[in-house]
Symmetry: C2
Subunit: 316 residues, 2 copies
């Protein structure tokens, strides 16, 4: 029943679990096996982690998500960790800011928690490049840049959270002011039950809606049976799933296979996001979307194949 950090900034194990996403059991077994982290103890023997411990754990957690092995990371010295961080730099899809709104301006606004400034920057990008340009030319690179800034410790968790909130709010708003022309295909968007991240989903929705597709987002964390039921009642042509890098490939494969089997062949499955591995494409009837920018092309292909009578929708 103990809760947060006490006065001195030390944190209990459950606070660390909440902050880092690493289960208590894992934290304890790491301490036993690798000697890190090695928290102090309070009068009654309970672990007290320092903020530095937590920062390092967060970093380790993120590198873990990028495929590094725990043994390596937990045995690594501070210097070795830094070298690994350097090695990771620029690994994220290298989408250049290409002359539009500079990502640095956005970062600055995020650091100041400056909502109006942030919205202005989005608005500017929207006017200059259009909705699709905003998503693929600003939001997508920002996600990479912010992830990297975070790893270098230049941005905190609340800032990242704040950014996500603002983008989602802005995109949802833009989406709403779009009068939907209700053209095929009908697309159902969601994530599997253990995938929390909804931003990728929203980005895809924006790209599709801009092309006149009919989108239904169920939000994240949908059980397979519910995805199936929704796809049938809404007569969806495509089910689009999003996976973050942290999602285990094995589970993604299993989930998508099961879903594929439970849906009629007439329904396509599209998979996207950093965790959408190439191997998913080996399942028949499943397409992997490599980059957000390629969504319109993928859509055009679908239309060419399924709606051969009408001419291909021009890509603005």
């Amino acid at each position: 029943m103990k809760h947060d950090a006490n006065g001195s900034g030390r944190m209990t194990i459950s606070a660390v679990e909440r902050e880092t996403g690493l289960p208590k059991d894992t934290l304890r077994v790491w301490e036993r096996r690798y000697g890190f982290p090695q928290p102090a103890r309070d009068e009654s023997g309970e672990r007290l982690y320092t903020p530095e411990d937590v920062n390092r754990l967060r970093l380790i957690r993120r590198l873990l998500d990028q495929g590094w092995r725990p043994g390596k990371l937990l045995a690594a010295s501070e210097a070795e960790l830094q070298r690994i961080v350097e090695a990771e730099r620029g690994t994220g899809v290298p989408v250049a800011p290409d002359g539009g709104v500079p990502t640095d301006d956005v970062l600055a606004a995020i650091r100041r928690h400056d909502v109006p400034a942030l919205r202005d920057l989005f608005q500017r990008s929207l006017l200059e490049r259009g909705l699709q340009g905003l998503v693929s030319g600003l939001v997508a690179p920002l996600n990479v840049v912010i992830g990297e800034a975070w790893i270098r410790g230049e941005l905190g968790v609340p800032e990242e959270h704040f950014y996500t909130e603002q983008v989602q709010s802005f995109l949802r708003g833009a989406l709403a002011s779009y009068t939907r022309p209700a053209t095929p295909p009908r697309v159902l968007l969601t994530t599997l039950p253990e995938e929390e991240h909804g931003l990728g989903l929203l980005m895809v929705e924006v790209m599709l809606a801009s092309e006149g597709a009919q989108c239904c987002s169920l939000g994240p964390r949908m059980p397979l049976t519910d995805i199936r039921a929704s796809a049938l009642t809404s007569a969806a042509d495509i089910v689009a799933l999003s996976f973050s890098a942290a999602y285990p490939l094995r589970q993604a494969l299993a989930g998508v296979r099961t879903l594929r089997e439970s849906l009629p062949d007439t329904v396509d499955i599209w998979v996207g996001g950093a965790g959408a591995h190439e191997r998913l494409a080996s399942i028949p009837g499943v397409s992997v979307i490599g980059a957000i920018r390629s969504v319109p092309d993928t859509l055009a292909e679908w239309r060419a194949a399924r709606l051969p009578d009408s001419p291909t929708t021009p890509l603005n």
Copy 2:
């Protein structure tokens, strides 16, 4: 490293934790102390919970949030639990659907996972009653009705989730098509770090924006220091916090007090949601918003007190 339900529908302890929100430690100690739940074991001695266990645990969890004590609930027989459920019915603020869009129609659409129908119903309510009417006359009662339907087992978790997603999407959209007149006060909206629920926040934002207030939502789960920093950089007049019924009063009091001390006296704090206990109002400079419908009045009072020169803004 075991994950989900295996074929037979039995669930491991971590799956139950994810589904019910009850920590593993708690599940084990309940079993030891009260004899419920009493899961079967697999070959290697690991607990396997039945779907019935999980349903009951979910119910218990919700009754717990409403203030019942674990000892009572866990010792209760099935029949006794049902009696408690009956006693709870109608406890939620009794907001009548009062002739607008019937909540039953909405429930039906939710059961069918029918996105277009749901959006139509919202749209209808919006046209009939306006944005504020939609929020206080449809969404607020719906929250109560859906909670009760859930407790009676007439609605599943995915359906509830689905509903939340759709309302949020619709309200955000409506909000975006509102051209903001940028009138005082400036309001900062967020929740404390352990409060996940963002829907209440959005409802308040809609009510305020309709009255021309300038809103900045930081999204849920903001650390106190960040709330303070944001309030200062954005020169907020009011910080609005939302608490769900599950939030422990003690923690709410502590959090709000700390925040109160770290903010200048010129900044008001507003507290709302099912978990916003009357006692919070005893802190000077903190107002408790009892019902979502009273937001415009509270705002008018603020304006009358702080902007005495200009006449009171007419309510809708």
